[in-house]
Symmetry: D2
Subunit: 306 residues, 4 copies
């Protein structure tokens, strides 16, 4: 068995799979809290470590601040207390990020997941980002998880910033969605003396992430194929790599379809096929056309999921 | 004389130079409305066509919605009525952008400057962007100006989307900060039958923009060197291209210094040298270090501005 | 009239338009020297300043070293002595580039056009490129023209390297195909004390280039629309900017079609329509399909050229 | 134990580690065949599967065609017959690539490693690349291995092209240096019914590559740390993933130092420290400065290799 890195003394154990929850809307475009709760009810049967709200998958940039907190409260109340709840709190400004971190802590989040600010990306040097995250971590009542997602932000949290920030007592880990497995391995290696946990940000390289020492994954695909992802985690933990590989390889195309290829509209469409409430997205995200729906279905069926 | 494109029937004549206003802050980080008014008082002597609030230069992503509207009201009251006031209203969601456009119109803006949504850039196809801008333009009580700024958004508004949107009666122009003069020329050429005005988004290629048919510029450098930029505009209008070139070439390095090279902290530092209130930026933007201040000074002095 | 920068004492006056010659092949894929001569015979009526062989447009990477020199000799013999002949000599290695520069000088080239080496682009620092070009310029019996073409090489010759190299007595200019008009203006500005000439590398921004002080252009489109390009040059020289603009804007789409959009196969196809020998390309370049031919034709006809 | 994919009927079994050989030069810059043989003599003790000549690491773009074949012959003669010899044969033209493949086959290469042509990258569509490789594979007397190295070429061989080409009977595998482990896994998955072998192109993600089903690696670092890389291969094959991970993580920084960070000059410098002949590079590659040498040393010593 390949054990994940020991993290003694860490206040927050992030080992496991977390779905970044999609946000269902009513026909009139309001957040549909009832359907959100029904999804959570079904997710309760799957051995997830916890959930993420206010991530990219939840259309967080399209929610008002009030809606964000209402979604968080709704999820917190629907969850058994042993499941972790991470809440995205990253804003462009340091001040706004701190304010949001205070709010989510009060509303019951166990940790703040903080995406890199990026609008002035030319000025977001390693020094600026270290300063930003240090201020946020100093002020946040709950632990901070760094979040690097170049496909959305056009900016990768520099390795040197990650290493420096890994030493902050209130920064407990990193979600890395960049897909660079060499970088992920190096982060594991260079932070091995810290209580610092690396989370894979996409189901496409979850097994490779476990292979190099990641402790879990925050995977959009877990909204749809949560049980297989938890099974993949278990196989990796038990050192059953041949089986893990067979499973991992069948997940790459479905994952790509609902992320970089067709995006959140596809994720929500596929949720419907698997018994969850997905529904439509807020504009400017557009519904899939018929050809895209067919392509999406093929990516699931060709890999044995439909 | 090289006349700019005739725009008969256009409800809003954008010909001229617009500073996207920087936002001064107090030592405690609050918006300093007094100093903002003092800047505007000084700008009143310069023949600007108008002003932009809530642009990138104004640290708009770091202002709360309340602050954004308060800044707008402050500027509107300080301006003579013959100066145009454009307000940035672009949010990630279509709904949010519409709401903000309604608010700024009520607060006295003459037009809404709408940056491309970009967080889900993989899904921001030409079709999605056309739908977004059409919804916004249909709902906005004031005319809409498109805004493409790939350096910040990682996304260029596709040519085909610009051409389609140029036909909307409530879309009057485009601010293009991408610096691709061939594209700018082609946009002028392909929209020549529409009431559609192209604005250069940076002082670095203002003269080249005029050469290919742009009607003006929204230039961060106008916060500092507003009079020379208006002089450059005049020289281009009068067909005095040799003089225009001599002036343009001296503006490239100062402009680069306060935009892509050293950013808004440099812009605000240089404002101080020229008698305006600049001051510090909100975090995560960082103050310049001493070496950067020297470099900034050199970029102005080597071109005869200090 | 807007005079181009004076270049007293420059041994080689590059002012004007240069077609980078396409290379016709026989049905069996051999260089067709007869058809090349026929093209040159027709080009003789157009007031080009000179010609370029072994550029990207000539499929130079697909010619053997022997063929390259044979093409050069053929062109040299077919040209009146008052037309300049520039020959591409850039190889990945410094040694290879020097050897090729010696060969083309012997075969009658007036200057060597040296593209940036790029295979190890991570190691092609400003210092490495300065060293490379200095060695080449020291050794070359004919003047050297720098050549930056990021679309092909994935690498832009850094501004600082251009400025340093502009001081070398045997480096007389730069062909810049990057399309960044701000950079081009800055190069003109910062080399104004040197005998250094900037050439626009694409017809898409030729007029803008003249506006900021370029002295001419090496334009693939000149293989097809040579006379209009020379007319555009004349209008810029005579300060007739309104007419220049009208002409320039009609050239953007045809130029894009035969360069970035459809490439050399399109250029050669369009040459046929205008009475030149184009013909097919060497593999792996592929012939246009029917839809592409239609699109190409539309880009010329919609702008009044067909 | 995690078995690598079975490849019954494959004419060429590529399972294992291959160093892409560096090329030593004399003080006068000539290929130093004696030192090359001495390196090979030392490499004979390491259980490599074979060797690659004419790869990027061998400064192949800086060798003349004559030198390339002479290096190949030298290596072939120095090798025991049970070691495979792969030779880079990729040229920009299809015709040139075919000619080189014929030559290396005659000189004793077991396979041709064919990098993507890239100069006209805008025209190198999936269709063009499929046509190119098909022509080459049809003509080559020895099996063809595809080679995708975006860091050098600025172009990734598209997935669809890989899948189509995997069905060609004379195309036996792919060296992928891009580092995208999700893509690599998908290639393994989608070619599982073919005799097609995936080789990792960098030591940085070798273990992750084995985890998703790659069969071996062509790793520049094998010029220096060949034995540990073969040990890593063995651990992966024997399913000892915990030990494999500990070893893999110590190899990332040394590997990065001699590839993307400091390049071939660093690789050759480090070879000297480990008892091989490295020496200097051909221009325009530049020697390391003292600070770079120190950084390089630190990247090896901090990971326990020096």
């Amino acid at each position: 068995e390949l054990s994940t890195p020991a993290t003694p003394g860490t206040s927050l154990d992030l080992r496991g799979i977390f779905p970044p929850l999609a946000t269902p809307f009513t026909a009139r475009g309001e957040v549909d809290y009832g359907r959100l709760e029904e999804n959570l009810h079904r997710y309760a049967r799957i051995p997830f470590r916890g959930f993420v709200v206010q991530g990219s998958t939840g259309e967080c940039p399209y929610l008002t601040p009030q809606e964000r907190l209402a979604v968080l409260s709704c999820v917190r109340q629907a969850l058994p207390p042993d499941r972790l709840l991470l809440a995205g709190t990253g804003c462009e400004s340091t001040q706004g990020t701190i304010a949001m971190s205070l709010s989510v802590a009060e509303a019951g989040a166990d940790a703040a997941l903080v995406v890199t600010p990026c609008y002035y990306r030319g000025s977001m040097t390693s020094a600026a980002l270290i300063h930003h995250y240090t201020q946020v971590a100093d002020a946040s009542p709950v632990p901070v998880v760094l979040y690097s997602v170049p496909a959305n932000t056009g900016l990768e949290l520099p390795l040197q910033a990650v290493l420096t920030l890994s030493q902050h007592p209130n920064i407990v880990g990193l979600k890395d969605s960049g897909g660079d497995i060499t970088r992920l391995g190096l982060i594991v290696h260079k932070t091995r003396m810290e209580d610092f946990q690396a989370l894979v940000g996409s189901a496409g390289f979850l097994m490779a992430g476990y292979a190099v020492g990641a402790c879990g994954g925050i995977c959009a695909l877990a909204n749809i194929l949560g049980a297989p992802l938890c099974e993949l985690e278990r196989l990796c933990h038990e050192g059953r790599w041949q089986e893990a590989r067979d499973l991992q390889l069948r997940l790459i195309e479905p994952n790509a379809a609902v992320t970089q290829k067709l995006g959140i509209p596809a994720l929500k469409q596929a949720m419907e096929w698997f018994g969850y409430h997905g529904g439509s997205c807020r504009a400017p995200l557009r519904p899939l056309n018929e050809a895209e729906v067919q392509e999406l279905r093929r990516d699931f069926s060709a890999n044995g999921w439909l």
